[in-house]
């Protein structure tokens, strides 16, 4: 067990070493996308929305955009990047000639998207601090932890989706039919509670929605205890369930 954990950490370290090589181009979209959303939708649409839930519109969408960074970074990692390592560049094949096995590869991957989720939420949060509100160390710390949890959960979802993919072009289908809806119906841009009862029920299947609810409560320091007691267990549970199925399916791809 300890040996497995050590190997998973070494895999994560290698992912980081590769990532660091083109650090700037790697983090760019994850950080610039939320900025564009803040300026275009936040300020553009915000000019017509007097307030939402007692907040200026641009402030309304800020916490959701911070938390969504974990979805984007973990989806791209567990889809394209993972698939390339699996099917094209032989990274995993090479690892399987060492004591590393499928278990360590999958744990290493999930650990890595957890770290990326944390890092990206932290980065976008700093941007929001610079543009919108004053520095808040407690929020920064808690959103980073939430980012790790969201990165893990969305990464597990990404791996599960990847396990069904037959060629690299199919990721566009996943992006269009799974990842985009998760983002647009996550509560980032409008409150889910104002939607129809059916839409609200559907939103409850969206792990990003749990994370956004938590992020908003933390950002506005409102109903924190109530929100956490409902959505944190949901988020952890969905992470575990998605992780379980992702593990089983990816294991069979790595170890035929």
């Amino acid at each position: 067990m300890l040996e497995s954990l050590k190997l998973s950490l070494l895999i994560t370290r290698k992912h980081w070493a590769v990532y660091r090589k083109s650090f700037f181009s790697n983090i760019l979209p994850t950080v610039t996308d939320p900025i564009f959303y803040l300026f275009s939708i936040g300020m553009g649409v915000g000019a017509y929305v007097i307030e939402l839930g007692g907040h200026e519109y641009v402030s309304y969408i800020a916490p959701g955009l911070i938390a969504s960074a974990a979805l984007w970074t973990s989806f791209f990692e567990t889809s394209y990047n993972f698939y390339i390592r699996l099917s094209y560049d032989g990274s995993y094949k090479a690892m399987m000639t060492t004591p590393i096995g499928p278990k360590e590869i999958i744990f290493g991957e999930l650990l890595w998207v957890g770290i990326k989720g944390a890092g990206m939420c932290l980065g976008v949060c700093l941007v929001v601090f610079a543009l919108l509100r004053q520095f808040d160390v407690i929020f920064l710390f808690s959103i980073t932890l939430l980012g790790a949890l969201l990165g893990f959960t969305c990464g597990a979802l990404g791996l599960l989706a990847t396990s069904f993919v037959k060629n690299i072009n199919q990721f566009q289908t996943i992006y269009a039919l799974l990842i985009s809806p998760l983002f647009f119906f996550s509560g980032t841009f409008f409150p889910i509670k104002d939607l129809s009862p059916l839409a609200q029920k559907l939103a409850l299947l969206n792990p990003l929605y749990y994370g956004i609810e938590i992020a908003q409560a933390l950002y506005w320091k409102k109903d924190i205890a109530d929100t956490l007691s409902l959505f944190l267990p949901l988020l952890i549970l969905s992470g575990l369930v998605l992780g379980f199925f992702a593990y089983r399916r990816i294991y069979r791809l790595l170890y035929k």
Partner: protein, 308 residues
């Protein structure tokens, strides 16, 4: 001699296809054991079962008295594996590729640098230490993969087509290194479809065809058993074909075989072949001792280079 590996009726299926269809053999300490066969014979599939990177569907496997399916991690820590594809990380340079691998195979942090330097020197690529993988030629990449496989100071080395696609100079260098490792009493298992490679390196070998073992033995014993003597090859022509047919129809002294490259006539005595070429009033393209390729042709009745 100490037995290191034992395979009993190993099978591996891909759907309907039995890629490995019941294979049994043993490997002993210090020997170089070859697995030969055409593309698609099941060599690589068998190899991945040996180091526990894929699961067999039937049979028993024991290496160092451990089952790779259960103890893969511990077994791979004692093995050095050169996979068929190089699987190098193109975004990293030679040194970084080696250092990450050294960590994976459990080399202690303080010893990694030294071990990496030594092995790069051993494979004569230390001057390419800072080159990226993309900057390396095919031969250089293969040498790097060898150096990488040796990081674990392996007791058993597994080479899956170590020299496929390499030029003769690099092949010789790789052969020389394999021989050096053998002298250090390392045990080697190697797959190849080059008969000369197998003759040169392997103490014993199996010839696989359609997932099964078609023959087992040392190169010399296989040649001696299946096709002793010499082979004269002639360019293909209808006239010659007819002449050969008339002359050798009932001969027990000569064995005739025909393929796309020509007519090959084998005899136990080289003098008999020389006499025959005179009788046929044709020049032989080549007269040579019979080799493993002839063994394969005799056993399976097909050309080794043919894709299955």
């Amino acid at each position: 001699m100490r037995q290191i590996l034992r395979a009993e009726n190993v099978e591996k299926h891909f759907g309907e296809l039995k890629a490995v269809a019941g294979v049994s053999f043993e490997v002993y300490a210090g020997e170089c054991f070859g697995i030969l066969g055409p593309n698609g014979a099941g060599k690589s599939t068998l190899i991945t079962c040996l180091y526990g990177a894929s699961a067999r569907d039937a049979g028993k496997l024991s290496i160092f008295e451990l089952d790779p399916q259960i103890n893969g991690r511990h077994l791979r820590a004692r093995m050095g594996i050169v996979p068929q594809d190089n699987c190098l990380d193109e975004s990293m340079n030679v040194y970084e590729n080696m250092m990450h691998f050294a960590a994976f195979v459990g080399v202690k942090a303080g010893e990694r640098r030294g071990r990496v330097e030594t092995l790069l020197k051993f494979m004569s690529i230390d001057h390419k230490k800072n080159a990226t993988v993309k900057q390396l030629s095919g031969g250089m990449q293969r040498r790097l993969v060898f150096a990488r496989a040796l990081l674990s100071e392996p007791e058993l080395i597994i080479l899956d087509e170590p020299t496929t696609g390499l030029d003769p100079a690099v092949r010789h260098l790789i052969w020389q290194k394999i021989t050096e490792l053998k002298l250090r009493s390392g045990t080697t298992i190697l797959t190849t479809h080059y008969m000369d490679e197998a003759e040169r390196l392997c103490d014993r070998l199996i010839i696989m065809d359609k997932g099964k073992i078609a023959a087992l033995g040392s190169p010399a014993s296989l040649i001696h058993k299946h096709c002793p003597g010499y082979v004269a090859s002639f360019d293909l022509s209808e006239g010659l074909k007819e002449k050969v047919r008339l002359k050798l129809e009932d001969s027990s002294e000569f064995k005739t075989l025909e393929d796309q490259t020509g007519i090959h006539i084998r005899s136990a005595q080289i003098e008999a072949l020389v006499r025959l070429t005179k009788d046929l009033q044709t020049e032989a393209r080549l007269i040579r001792p019979s080799n493993l390729e002839d063994v394969f042709l005799t056993i399976t009745g097909k050309d080794l280079s043919a894709d299955a």
